[in-house]
Amino acid sequence: MPEIIIDGRAVTVADGVTVAAALMSEGIRSWRTTRIAGNPRGVFCGMGVCFDCLVTLNGEPNVRACITPVEPGDVIDSQQGTGHDGGVS
């Protein structure tokens, strides 16, 4: 079972899950705020089409959480706006 870090907190998640599923199994439903209104977003299409579930993964912003499998040691951070304006919490 991979150990990962979600917003600074170490957690162990099930094998073979996506980043989105790892977040949701931790009870987290939103990990991004939008560029304009700052509204919370999480999984919407769940299959890589809509780009709503963007997350910062190992320092790289705008990764689709729904189609990216978790790897041991992953550092997952929620992101704000474009993901490029230092908005990582």
Binding site: G16, V17, A21, R29, R35, C66, T68, P69
Partner: protein
């Protein structure tokens, strides 16, 4: 992974998509003697219907069980085709297939050459906007299924499944089987129309599946509300409930029938949109399908209007996993024949008959669950329609009534609706249907034309030879 490493060598066939259609097509072509590479965006093969955990057994379509054939097929998973072009227009006909790694490896771009192309890119959910649908906790039915099938995670604790079509039943069933709770299934149409197709249901072996879904709902005491629609999603930072209303045949809510249901999750889905990005790039003829969406036009051999390009499965019109598999086999066999290999299929005429019967049934089903317009009444001026660019309904209406926009393309240019990350995949149907000139083949095809299918590094865009896409 199996087969040869992907290198600069040319393949006879590149299949895009590793769902039922793509895997069946690859198997048929490889069995006949073609060299085949499958390119698929997901971490493991299976597509949407056969989506599975990464550590699960490898997907094999029914009847495609000769492992010696699979060892000759190269599957490039976690890889997206962002553009296709025609490198050689002559009798040799060489396609350039430009790929990008998954989001961890998105700067890894590559070019694969192929003599034939089989498009098996499937479909994605077709949601419609409703106030509050941008709250976390609202997702598509396919998205909910993907969480369950791919990761074993429930979409929420108490789910309302809404939209139209038999897929709602499949979503509810998947949630119940995974131990979740479904508050209601909310169907905008009246499936009583399905009775007219009872013999067709039996004919294509779907009656049993439908009966199982209904038994499951009954056992779990899940209300199946026909002619109802979710007209509002409640919540501040996440879903806390939905308002339902009874609707007429045009989906207009009947005043005084509002009712609140507590739920933490809503799934939405009004059918599916066929993934036609690559055939649109190549200039393949598209058509309006029975469900009023777009589909790639194919002939009896699954060949598109562009020589050397074939299509199978949902990209040719949404019809379900069994039809997709048969279309895949036929496409693979046709490609093999075009490269002077004998057909690998024992009884091709019988497969063609099955395909035609299942396609006719799919079209009848689409007619029984049509798309109506009453959902537009729900939209308030501040209801987000384009989720990426955060364009509210009021600004779209203003572009139409004040600025004179007649079609989705003009609305897009005036408001940015459809210009964001998803390139209009989620909102283009709604934007189109809000316009005075809507539901036209031309309008929908324009919205579905995406010269680059997913974001890639700028240098990779510069490499694409757009001119090559014109037939010489």
């Amino acid at each position: 992974m199996s087969g040869d490493p992907l290198d600069a060598t040319e393949r006879d066939v590149v299949v895009v998509g590793a769902g039922a259609a793509g895997m069946s097509a690859a198997y048929a072509a490889a069995r006949a003697g073609c060299t085949v590479t499958i390119i698929d965006a997901n971490p493991v093969a299976g597509g949407q219907y056969h989506r599975r955990r990464i550590d699960a057994a490898t997907y094999r379509p029914r009847g495609c069980d000769d492992e010696a054939v699979w060892r000759r097929i190269h599957i490039e998973s976690a890889t997206t085709v962002y553009a296709v072009e025609i490198i050689d227009h002559g009798t040799q006909r060489i396609f350039g297939v430009r790929t990008r790694g998954d989001d961890r490896h998105r700067r890894d771009v590559d070019l694969v050459r192929a003599r034939r192309l089989i498009i098996a890119t499937g479909a994605y959910d077709r949601p419609l906007p409703v106030p509050g649908w941008d709250l976390p906790g609202v997702m598509t039915g396919g998205g909910a299924q993907a969480l369950i099938k791919g990761s074993g995670v429930l979409p929420g604790n108490r789910v309302v499944v809404a939209g139209t079509g038999p897929f709602l039943l499949a979503v509810a069933q998947a949630i119940l089987e995974a131990g979740g709770s479904v508050a209601a299934v909310v169907e905008a149409n009246d499936p009583v129309a399905l009775r007219r197709h009872r013999s067709a249901l039996t004919n294509v072996g779907k009656a049993g599946e439908l009966a199982r879904f209904i038994t499951s709902l009954t056992r779990h005491r899940v209300p199946y509300l026909r002619r109802h629609r979710v007209t509002r999603v409640h919540g501040d930072t996440t879903v806390t409930g939905v308002t339902l209303a009874r609707v007429d045949a045009s989906w207009h809510a009947t005043p005084g029938t509002d009712r609140f249901i507590e739920a933490d999750t809503l799934t939405l889905g009004y059918g599916f949109t066929a993934q036609t990005d690559l055939p649109a790039q190549l200039g393949c003829t598209l058509q309006v399908s029975a469900d009023e969406g777009l589909a790639v036009t194919v002939d009896d051999d699954q060949a598109t209007s562009v020589t050397g390009v074939y299509a199978a499965g949902e990209s040719t019109g949404v019809g379900g996993v069994d039809l997709a598999g048969i279309e895949g086999l036929l496409a693979g066999a046709a490609v093999a024949r075009s490269l002077d290999h004998p057909s690998p299929l024992r009884d091709e005429p019988a497969l063609r008959r099955s395909r035609d019967r299942m396609r006719a049934f799919a079209d009848a089903l689409a007619t029984a669950f049509p798309l109506r317009s009453g959902w537009r009444d729900d939209l308030e001026d501040d209801t987000v329609v384009c989720r990426c660019e955060e364009v509210p309904a009021g600004r779209i209406r203003n572009a139409i009534t004040e600025l004179g926009a007649h079609d989705a393309r003009t609305v897009k240019l005036l408001t940015r609706a459809g210009m964001g990350w998803c390139q209009g995949r989620v909102c283009s149907l709604a934007v189109d249907r809000l316009c005075p000139r809507s539901a036209t083949l031309d309008g929908q095809a324009r919205a579905a034309t995406r010269p680059v299918a997913i974001p890639v590094p700028l240098g990779a865009v510069a490499d694409i030879n757009l001119q090559s896409r014109r037939e010489s």
